[in-house]
């Protein structure tokens, strides 16, 4: 699990490697996941999903810039993720509002109607 000599060499030259960004993105993704699992408030859950999507975006852009900078495909992928997360947030919030209209609650534990 050690960084290879090659990577370490690049790190020594550039100061910042792709691994720095990947590490930050991993921490953000883990925090987002912890929020999704632990939060009981529906809107906070949605926000943590956005956090995870952003961490993935960061990975795409960092790898694009450090591995193949002359082809911006990674950034195009990040744009698609951005689009899809905007759609997800709109539909998610509409569902939250519809649920709130019916049950007057945003607590995930209140939505157990399909449970038997």
């Amino acid at each position: 699990m050690m960084m290879s000599a090659e990577v370490a060499e690049v790190a020594a030259v550039a100061g910042l490697t792709v691994h720095h960004y990947l590490g930050v993105a991993t921490i953000l993704f883990g925090l987002g996941f912890a929020g999704v699992v632990s939060s009981r408030h529906l809107i906070r859950t949605l926000m943590c999903v956005e956090l995870m999507l952003n961490a993935v975006n960061l990975v795409f852009v960092a790898i694009n810039n450090h591995v193949n900078p002359s082809d911006l495909s990674g950034q195009v992928f990040a744009i698609f993720i951005l689009t899809i997360s905007a759609a997800e947030a709109a539909v998610g919030l509409a569902i939250v509002l519809a649920l709130f209209k019916n049950t007057a609650s945003v607590d995930v534990e209140d939505f157990s109607r399909l449970k038997w």
């Binding site: 699990m1 960084m3 290879s4 090659e6 990577v7 690049v10 100061g15 910042l16 490697t17 792709v18 960004y21 990947l22 590490g23 930050v24 921490i27 953000l28 993704f29 883990g30 925090l31 996941f33 912890a34 929020g35 699992v37 632990s38 009981r40 906070r44 949605l46 926000m47 952003n54 975006n57 960061l58 852009v61 694009n64 810039n65 591995v67 900078p69 002359s70 911006l72 495909s73 950034q75 195009v76 990040a78 744009i79 698609f80 951005l82 689009t83 899809i84 997360s85 905007a86 759609a87 947030a89 709109a90 539909v91 919030l93 509409a94 939250v96 509002l97 519809a98 709130f100 945003v106």
Partner: protein
């Protein structure tokens, strides 16, 4: 080095604010710290020569999405949730599973040793002169034109779905809007229930009020 100093500053800010998103006592505070996370990720994009994406990040996430989230919080009311039994168990499961996921991804990140090609000085100069917008646009409309069109259909579907989910529901069974041909002209008629539902002002009522409006006009002209 300047870049790595900036990186560490923004990494600290991003991780601190992400902790705020997960742990803040009020949802409003976590929405506000989400804005900070989005802006520091935009800064990471700038450090990675992605200026267009940094702008899009600030516009779509930092402003648009958080405002939608804040509207959601305002519509549902920022009331604290009822305390329930089993909070400790939930926190335990969440922390164990997220730490396990983090360890899994982190070890694979450390083992990730693909050959890195730092951007050439000339390419960076080109990017800094004309920005990445041109290159992204060319890719988007040549190589990725099919995903682009699919994304537009997806956005349309999501928009229609969101409107359908949050629109007012009508309980009436009879058709609300009917058309009839009178004197060679198409005349739309709203049913009585629909008029009540949408707060439609009746033409007859408006005519009954006609004398009153005449008086009002006279008073105003005096």
């Amino acid at each position: 080095m300047f870049e790595s100093t900036l990186f560490w500053i923004f990494a600290t800010v991003a991780i601190g604010a992400a902790l705020g998103v997960v742990l803040a006592p009020s949802v409003l505070y976590s929405a506000l710290s989400l804005i900070v996370v989005f802006f520091s990720i935009a800064a990471f994009f700038l450090l990675n020569n992605a200026d267009f994406l940094a702008t899009a990040q600030v516009l779509v996430y930092g402003v648009g999405l958080t405002i939608v989230m804040l509207f959601g919080i305002m519509f549902t009311g920022d009331t604290p949730l009822k305390t329930r039994a089993g909070k400790l168990g939930r926190l335990l499961i969440a922390s164990i599973s997220s730490v396990a996921l983090f360890a899994l991804i982190f070890t694979s990140v450390l083992g990730f040793n693909i050959k890195q090609f730092p951007a050439s000085a000339q390419w960076i100069r080109e990017l800094h002169e004309q920005g990445s917008t041109l290159a992204i646009g060319q890719l988007l409309f040549s190589k990725y034109v099919l995903p682009f069109e699919v994304a537009s259909i997806l956005l349309l579907g999501a928009m229609i779905g969101a409107i359908m989910l949050s629109k007012k529901t009508f309980t009436s069974q009879e058709p609300g809007l009917t058309f009839s041909i009178q004197e060679g002209r198409l005349k739309p008629t709203l049913s009585a229930e629909w008029r009540k539902d949408v707060g439609f002002v009746d033409a007859e009522v408006a005519e009954e009020d006609a004398p009153a409006t005449e008086e009002l006009k006279k008073e105003c002209s005096l």
